[in-house]
């Protein structure tokens, strides 16, 4: 009896926390988790346009959507493209932003704030608008890139139309759009390394390279991991860039899993199939994240 009474005030705080978290949790549950579960359920049916017109034509198909995915050449193509984008685009994105962050954070830089802002600007832009610009920059005859190439005597490249160049073009644009965000996080990471350590290292006889190798790199590793995971998760969901720039072409060479899912889901209303695709994507991302986390742990314990 006494125990219950004693917790009365504690309950006050308990309840405050509960009520504070409740609205957001409810919203997330309702508008995220419920649809996700529903999608999971849908992925075992053949929900399609006929079902939309007449619900009685809905069939439970078990795993056959997933089996079909495994046999769908478009899926494999899209997976290949997506992996290409994640691996090449993701690492470029991370490495480039790291390099730029190092530059911006360099001790000799004047007007650091200005550079930081300018470099962050692409992050803020609207993709739809930016796609207009980039489609034009990539234009085979009038685009700036080919004009530049021409100055060096290189023959023009059909950036968005050539199966070899379309994905690199998408990657370049994605890097342009996203590096600023990672750069800021890297700058934060760099700034959290105490100046003391560099001073100590200098006294210990370390030159600029040794300082980078033994202080900056290892201490930036957690940031690096964070940025890689975030970038990777985001890049796996690639959709808007190819949707706006190439519609997946040429010959589906920029068709990403996200775009394939959108096409199946919202263009053809094969909701069952699209949901199954979504879960396959989810499982891939989950696995890669786990691998990354594991790798991170290994590297960290090695250090």
């Amino acid at each position: 009896m006494r125990v219950s009474a004693q917790f009365s005030w504690c309950k006050g705080r308990f309840e405050a926390g509960f009520w504070f978290a409740m609205p957001a949790l409810l919203l997330i549950a309702l508008f995220f988790f419920v649809p996700v579960l529903a999608a999971l359920a849908l992925s075992f049916t053949d929900f399609d346009i006929y079902v939309l017109g007449d619900f009685s034509t809905l069939r439970f198909v078990g795993l056959s959507n997933y089996i079909r995915i495994m046999h769908d050449p478009l899926f494999w193509l899209a997976l290949r493209n997506t992996l290409y984008f994640v691996l090449i685009g993701g690492s470029l994105s991370v490495v480039f932003s790291l390099v730029v962050a190092l530059l911006v954070n360099h001790g000799l830089v004047r007007l650091r704030g200005l550079f930081r802002t300018l470099l962050f600007l692409p992050v803020v832009t609207t993709l739809v608008a930016i796609a207009v610009v980039w489609r034009y920059l990539y234009h085979q005859r009038y685009g700036a890139f080919n004009w530049l190439l021409e100055q060096f005597g290189i023959s023009p490249v059909d950036w968005l139309g050539d199966i070899h160049w379309a994905m690199p073009a998408i990657i370049l644009m994605a890097v342009w759009k996203n590096f600023g965000f990672n750069m800021i996080i890297f700058i934060a990471g760099l700034q959290s390394i105490p100046e003391r350590l560099y001073e100590a290292a200098r006294l210990d006889g370390a030159g600029a390279l040794a300082q980078f190798r033994y202080i900056t790199l290892p201490l930036l590793f957690p940031t690096f991991l964070f940025v890689s995971v975030i970038t990777m998760i985001g890049y796996f969901q690639l959709f808007a860039e190819p949707y706006l720039m190439t519609q997946g072409g040429p010959s589906n060479h920029t068709l990403s899993l996200g775009l394939l899912m959108f096409n199946e889901g919202f263009r053809w209303w094969n909701m069952g199939y699209a949901s199954a695709l979504a879960f396959v994507l989810f499982i891939i991302i989950l696995m890669v994240t786990l691998i990354q986390a594991r790798l991170g742990k290994i590297v960290r314990t090695r250090q």
Partner: protein
């Protein structure tokens, strides 16, 4: 005084430029139909299909909507469209025999009429007279053979240019060529793909040949920055496209070129056969969910009148679906439109099943594979048929299920 009368608002979705233009017909309608107001909303073509489907799924369909007639079967399957047979037969202003028959056919699904054609859209050949003359020809091609020959000659004028522009991922041209040869595209009651048929193979071969000989640039639609400028620059001299471009060419090409371009019906596979083209265009459909069907029908009926068709032509350049409307003085005098008038008597429609758009998108993929990746015909077409069979699985099941 006016507010005493209850006003019914009819929601109307029109696509693309039509959406802009049709607004100008509304005052006349509202004047002659007191008590009905029309609210026009414009939907961009690029998002139209998704948009209509989501609107249906979201149960926010308008009362009347424009839709490409290739989409009609899909919306019929969805039970989104109210059949119009009864209304047409009751109407005293809609003699179906005044409409081009190929177009009307494309609005039927299993013999029932679901849409009233609004304007027609078929594809003909646009060409530069001066360049053809330079290459030694004084008239447009009538047969495939002539056509190929002409293109070769044009290409020889300047190898940096091309003879023909066909956006590589557009499926229409090979389909037209196939239909001209009598290909069915689908078989077994439209339940399986038939792209491996000899007719389609032949058409496909011809189509590839154009690229193989570099008579057309391998460009996707989105890569063509300024079509009109390129046409004016002689970057290409032939172009297969629809009537909307008559207006655009007139508007955008420099004045000195206006005399130098012309239109012609599609070439035929061989002399004596018809140079068929696609029965395209847009129709007006009445939403099955509409609560204002009577008023909505009046709006459809209004737009289908001969004089409104003519008026609409003048505003938009969209070609009328009624032969009587072609007697409009401007239209009759338009030499560039004449080719369309001729072509419209020889149009056929595509398979009328909901899956056609998906099949067409697969076809587009197949075309890109063939032209860009250089996959063989066999490979591409059998793959296509397999894809199509898979797409039609549910249709087969439904048909079995019903019987």
């Amino acid at each position: 005084r006016e507010h005493a009368e209850p006003v019914v608002v009819v929601d109307f979705w029109a696509l693309g430029r039509e959406g802009e233009v049709v607004r100008q017909l509304v005052p006349e309608f509202e004047r002659t139909h007191p008590g009905i107001k029309v609210k026009v909303q414009q939907i961009p073509w690029s998002a139209a299909h998704e948009k209509l489907l989501t609107a249906f799924a979201g149960r926010v369909m308008p009362d009347v909507f424009q839709l490409g007639n290739t989409w009609l079967p899909e919306f019929v399957a969805l039970k989104a469209i109210h059949p119009l047979g009864e209304q047409v037969s009751r109407s005293n202003d809609l003699p179906l025999d005044d409409f081009f028959s190929g177009i009307v056919d494309s609005n039927r699904v299993e013999t029932r009429l679901y849409g009233i054609p609004w304007y027609v859209d078929t594809r003909v050949l646009f060409y530069r007279k001066d360049l053809l003359t330079q290459a030694g020809f004084d008239r447009p091609p009538a047969t495939w053979e002539e056509w190929m020959d002409m293109m070769e000659h044009v290409k020889r004028l300047d190898s940096a240019r091309y003879a023909l522009l066909i956006p590589m991922n557009e499926w229409q041209l090979p389909v037209i060529l196939g239909l001209q040869l009598g290909a069915h595209l689908l078989k077994d009651n439209n339940c399986r793909g038939d792209f491996e048929s000899p007719e389609f193979r032949q058409a496909f071969r011809f189509y590839r040949e154009i690229y193989r000989r570099e008579l057309a640039p391998a460009l996707a639609e989105s890569q063509i920055a300024n079509l009109y400028q390129e046409f004016a620059n002689s970057y290409f001299s032939m172009f297969i496209t629809g009537p909307w471009n008559i207006g655009e060419f007139r508007h955008r090409l420099p004045a000195e070129l206006q005399e130098q371009w012309a239109t012609a019906p599609m070439p035929a596979p061989m002399a004596g056969t018809a140079g068929l083209s696609l029965a395209g265009g847009a129709s007006l459909a009445l939403s099955a969910a509409s609560a204002k069907k009577a008023e909505a029908w009046q709006w459809i009926e209004f737009l289908s009148r001969s004089e409104q068709q003519a008026a609409f032509y003048r505003l938009s350049g969209d070609l009328p679906v009624r032969r009587s409307a072609w007697q409009d003085e401007i239209l009759a005098a338009d030499d560039k439109a004449a080719a369309f008038r001729q072509q419209l008597e020889a149009v056929v429609s595509l398979p009328r099943i909901p899956e056609w758009e998906r099949i067409a998108s697969r076809l587009a993929i197949a075309l890109e594979r063939a032209i860009r990746d250089g996959a063989s015909d066999d490979e591409v077409l059998s793959e296509l048929d397999r894809d199509v069979d898979r797409i039609l699985e549910k249709r087969r099941w439904l048909l079995e299920h019903r019987s």
